[in-house]
Amino acid sequence: MAKLTLLLLGVLVGCALGLVSAQHEARKLYAAREQAQSLARELNVEYGRLQLEAGTWARHTRIAEIARRKLGMRVPEPRRVRSVRLDREQAR
């Protein structure tokens, strides 16, 4: 009888310790998740900023300007343009 009591006591203590460590583990994981989420938010912010930057670099006026000035590009003379029609259905 006493042995059984002792055994159960041992089990009880084990369970209690397990609970504590599980709780601790849960909190640690929660903190990690929280951190990951805040990282995700930050990356999202960064993404937005980069999108904005890309938008600024890809402004049509800027591209047209570079094409004209730096690359010396210009619209071809209409007489030098050939249109090629693939197929009646596709051309639509």
Binding site: Y30, E34, G48, R49, G55, H60, R80, V81, S83
Partner: protein, 576 residues
């Protein structure tokens, strides 16, 4: 004896022991009752109170949706910034610390003091809103009690002045104030969520309790605008407005198949990212909110009606009285006087007298009905705030002279968008297409207003109007057949026509063989000498429509005589 006395002393009355016992029991009962009360009855309240010591509700902010052009290019994006606020009562800072705070925020010490004083009763005051991240970091570095930062969103507009009036902008509270930002506020905004959490002593989160209400981010809004065409139209309009020293101008490009507005530009414009010195006039989306007397651009409608009810054919000859026609005490004049011209020539040479005479032969009810059905006098229902309805009086109140002048666009007022929409009738074989500022699914069905034959006949006349004998030869482009009508009208100032203030316009479409685009141009008060629509507005039309047709890859319907390309000759030589 002694024993007896002792026992007599010890032998206290029984009631005293009982009394003590009862008191103890009562005490226990009170304690048990109280604990029972707390545990069973007040438990919810107490738990709540306890939770309040460590649980916090934190707001999960929602991001405002982006505004994109039809190709996915961003026209408006939100990025988070910090706002600095303070609780004046809790602010513990001595003089040098306050000075450091003011310096970090980039404001004067006196301004800071005033802000703090203003917020004393409210317990909350913004020191500076929407500061850049470096500023926020510097303020946090001061480590002051009672100064906090808050995450907010700031809206950026990569399109800048090119899309300014169309996209609009948001206020400091991230709510739309102008343009599409205002029109689609509920769709863009999203709703903030919240979560209940347990925070530990150091302020870091320990765990979630209770339900999490997820933040609903705002939806993206995809406009019908094509960024490239928009840029092209803005450039063309801006240089024309500068060259003719005009007060303002607007251009609209409409896809005749789908009714989508591909470009909608206004000059003068402003930079929506920096609205410090913003004047009211620049904010207006003139193409939508301003109504003007369209002038000759309305003639094709009059003539279309005359053709439709069989009054005239394109070859019918109209007496034009050598350029002067008097009705009552009002005289109508022509810029290119002639004795008589065909109906086609009336449109081609933009004869006011010809149009007036044709109109006088039409029932006023039918004329009013056509004008109304192509959308004059009713808002175009684009969902844009402040759309002009224009003015179209009921036919019962028309006098004959008014019916005559209305034939060439006087006494009615329209917005540029209404005008462009009305011309879809000619571009679409008689169908009026509903316009849209949001990207749509493709070809839409229109409302049949005119017969196909009439629409095609007017189209042929409008093509004649841009030939060298017409009023708008400068609207022509190489490679595609275009058609359109010039308009020049005196501006109304205080109820009468100003002799020296003009409004030049051009509305047209291309390619004539299968119209894809309708373009309308309006230039307000050109004051560099030239003012005819054919000189001021038509070149802008040509520039815009040619660029747009090329960008959209519309097949040429009037290919110029091709040059022999060097590559082709080589190829030909090789193959022979």
């Amino acid at each position: 004896m002694s024993v007896a006395t002792t026992s007599a002393l010890v032998r206290l009355p029984v009631w005293r022991a009982r009394l003590v016992l009862v008191l103890f029991l009562l005490g226990f009962a009170v304690v048990a009752g109280r604990s029972g009360y707390l545990q069973a009855v007040r438990t919810a309240f107490l738990q709540e109170k306890g939770e309040a010591r460590y649980a916090r509700v934190i707001e999960v902010p929602a991001t405002r949706g982006r505004i994109l052009d039809r190709n996915g290019q961003a026209l408006a994006i939100s990025t988070p910034v910090k706002s600095i606020w303070a609780m004046p009562a809790e602010l513990e800072a001595d003089r040098p610390q306050r000075a450091a705070l003011a310096k970090a925020l980039g404001m004067r010490s006196s301004t800071l003091k005033r802000r703090l004083a203003a917020g004393v009763e409210r317990d909350f005051v913004y020191l500076k809103r929407q500061v850049p991240p470096e500023t926020a970091r510097r303020v946090a570095g001061l480590n002051l009690q009672g100064v906090f930062e808050q995450r907010e969103y700031r809206r950026y507009y990569p399109g800048g002045e090119i899309t300014a009036q169309l996209v609009g902008f948001t206020g400091v509270d991230d709510a739309g104030q102008e343009g599409m930002e205002l029109a689609y506020q509920s769709r863009l905004a999203g709703t903030a969520g919240s979560r209940r959490v347990i925070k530990d002593r150091r302020g870091s989160l320990v765990e979630d309790i209770g339900a999490i209400r997820a933040a609903q981010d705002g939806h993206d809004l995809v406009l019908s605008i094509d960024g490239k065409i928009q840029t092209l139209a803005y450039g063309a309009l801006k240089s024309a407005v500068r060259r003719h020293r005009a007060k303002a101008g607007a251009v609209i490009v409409v896809n005749a198949m789908s009714g989508e507005v591909l470009a909608l530009v206004n000059v003068p414009s402003y930079n929506p990212n920096n609205r410090a010195k913003l004047a009211g006039g620049r904010l207006r989306n003139r193409a939508l909110t301003d109504a003007f007397e369209p002038g000759s651009t309305l003639k094709p409608l009059t003539i279309a009606l005359a053709l439709e009810i069989g009054k005239v054919t394109p070859r019918t000859v109209v007496e034009t009285d050598a350029g002067q026609l008097t009705i009552g005490n009002y005289t109508i004049r022509d810029a290119h006087p002639a004795r008589a011209m065909s109906v086609t020539q009336v449109l081609q040479k933009s004869s006011n007298i010809g149009a007036a005479k044709i109109a006088l032969g039409l029932p006023s009810e039918a004329m009013w009905d056509l004008f109304r059905r192509v959308g004059l006098g009713t808002a175009p229902q684009l969902g844009f705030p402040g759309e002009a309805t224009g003015r179209l009086r009921h036919y019962r109140s028309w006098r004959p002279i008014e019916q005559a002048t209305m034939a060439y666009g006087h006494g009615v007022s329209v917005s540029l968008v209404q005008l462009a929409r009305a011309y879809t009738v000619f571009a679409r074989d008689g169908e009026l297409v509903p316009l849209s500022l949001v990207r749509g699914a493709g070809v839409v069905d229109g409302e049949k207003i005119l017969s196909t034959e009439t629409a095609r006949a007017v189209r042929a006349m409008l093509e004649a109007a841009v030939q060298p004998e017409g009023t708008g030869p400068r609207a022509r482009v190489v490679g595609w057949r275009v058609a359109g009508k010039t308009g020049t009208s005196h501006k109304l100032v205080n109820g009468s026509y100003a002799p020296d203030k003009y409004l030049s316009s051009f509305v047209g479409f291309a390619p004539v063989s299968a119209p894809r685009l309708v373009v309308a141009v309006m230039i307000d008060e050109p004051s560099a000498g030239e003012y005819y629509g054919g000189v001021v507005a038509a070149p802008v039309f040509a520039q815009v429509i040619m660029g747009a047709l090329r960008l959209l890859g519309v097949p040429l319907d009037a290919p110029p005589e091709p040059l022999e390309l060097p590559g082709e000759t080589d190829h030909a030589r090789e193959s022979t």
